[in-house]
Amino acid sequence: MSTPGELGTEPWPLWEVFVRANRGLSHVHVGSLHAPDADMAVRNARDLYTRRNEGISIWVVPADAVTTSDPDAKGAFFESPAGKNYRHAVYYTKSEGVKHL
């Protein structure tokens, strides 16, 4: 299931744009744009999303190439982690007050 937006009917396809704001940070989704191909998409993304030094690196991905989790199964898909509190440090209270733990 792809991201919403690519309709498959427009003259230029839709691209999702991800920008790395600075070294040490991940690329973050900032929006989308239209471009005839990947080369133009990355250039359009530069002009559209980094006019004010917002980024040092850009990814563009055809919107229809993104696979997302199934929205209908939303609840079930993310149910499993709930209750597995032992994955979190705060679950372990007996060590409170002990240094460097």
Partner: protein
């Protein structure tokens, strides 16, 4: 926080503005250190250009400003909204180059960038003819952009080593921006030449319309010879081989040829002496009209 703390300070750029979720719709104005608006102003602080260097800076500044003025006309008229933005970006880069160059040129005679831009008449303009040729259709504009950006890239690349620190600084900043203009023009030449029959026909026509104005860019004269001898300017003719091979590379990929035979005309040129085609007058009239209605006004 101790020096050995395993917790680093968050990078300053990861502020709330970049994470809309955390701000929940609050809007703030970023505090940031602004870079110098005019390139070369730090390096050349207080420096006054010699008469020759000023004349040379005027040529370069006029080229940039006239081209920026042309690209400004595309905004709201580009073939696609993304392209409005791209052409706007290129125009803004060029205005930046023009301001730096005209500012420097003006130091020789005590005139500001705006006095030079708005209060000189046509014969006092020193831009080459290429830059004053009208936009035409998108293919003509792209052909003009290709020639202009390939030329400017070679020029600024070489001028970054100028013995004149102001010109060197302006060129060093400009060459990076022009590099992108070169890429933009190249991408579009490839797409128009290799797209539909119509776009190819228009691209070929754009090249034909533009080519007569190439020679003037590389013509040496007494001024550039004098300045080049001192290492201040770049002798235009020396830029031609690199320009030609850059054109060859683009044209080879786009299966285009330089105009030959009947279409291979060379315009006489003369912009560096203040002699211009009929296109410059109206362009200047429009650009200068408001400023000239209010002599001495500040904006």
């Amino acid at each position: 926080m101790s020096e050995n703390s395993p917790v680093e300070e968050r990078p300053t750029k990861e502020d709330a503005s970049r994470n809309p979720e955390s701000t929940h719709g609050d809007v703030s104005v970023d505090r940031l250190a602004l870079a110098d608006e005019l390139a070369g102003s730090a390096e050349g602080a207080g420096r006054v250009a010699s008469a020759d260097a000023a004349e040379y800076a005027l040529r370069l500044g006029d080229d940039a400003l006239v081209l920026a003025q042309q690209l400004g006309m595309w905004i709201t008229r580009a073939p696609e909204l993304e392209e409005d933005i791209a052409l706007g970006n290129i125009g803004l880069d060029l205005i930046g180059h023009a301001r730096s160059l005209l500012h420097y040129a003006g130091t020789a005679t005590g005139r500001s960038e705006d006095e030079l831009a708005y209060w000189r008449d046509e014969p006092e303009w020193r831009n080459a003819w290429l830059f004053e040729q009208p936009n035409g259709d998108f293919a003509c504009t792209i052909a003009r952009q290709l020639v202009a950006s390939l030329y400017l890239f070679e020029l600024y690349g070489a001028l970054a080593d100028s013995t004149d620190p102001t010109l060197a600084a302006i060129a060093a900043k400009s060459v990076k921006e022009v590099d992108y203009h070169r890429d933009h023009a190249t991408q579009w030449v490839l797409r128009l030449a290799g797209g539909t029959e119509e776009s190819r026909r228009r691209m070929i026509r754009g090249v034909e319309v533009t080519w007569p104005y190439v020679d003037e860019l590389f013509a040496d004269d007494e001024l550039t010879e004098r300045l080049a001898a001192d290492g201040v300017a770049v002798l235009p003719s020396t830029l031609r081989p690199a320009f030609e091979s850059a054109v060859d590379a683009v044209f080879a990929e786009a299966s285009l040829e330089r105009p030959s035979g009947r279409t291979a005309v060379t315009a006489s040129g003369g912009g560096r002496r203040g002699s211009h085609t009929e296109h410059l007058g109206p362009l200047l009239a429009e650009m200068q009209v408001l400023a000239r209605q209010h002599p001495g006004a500040s904006w």
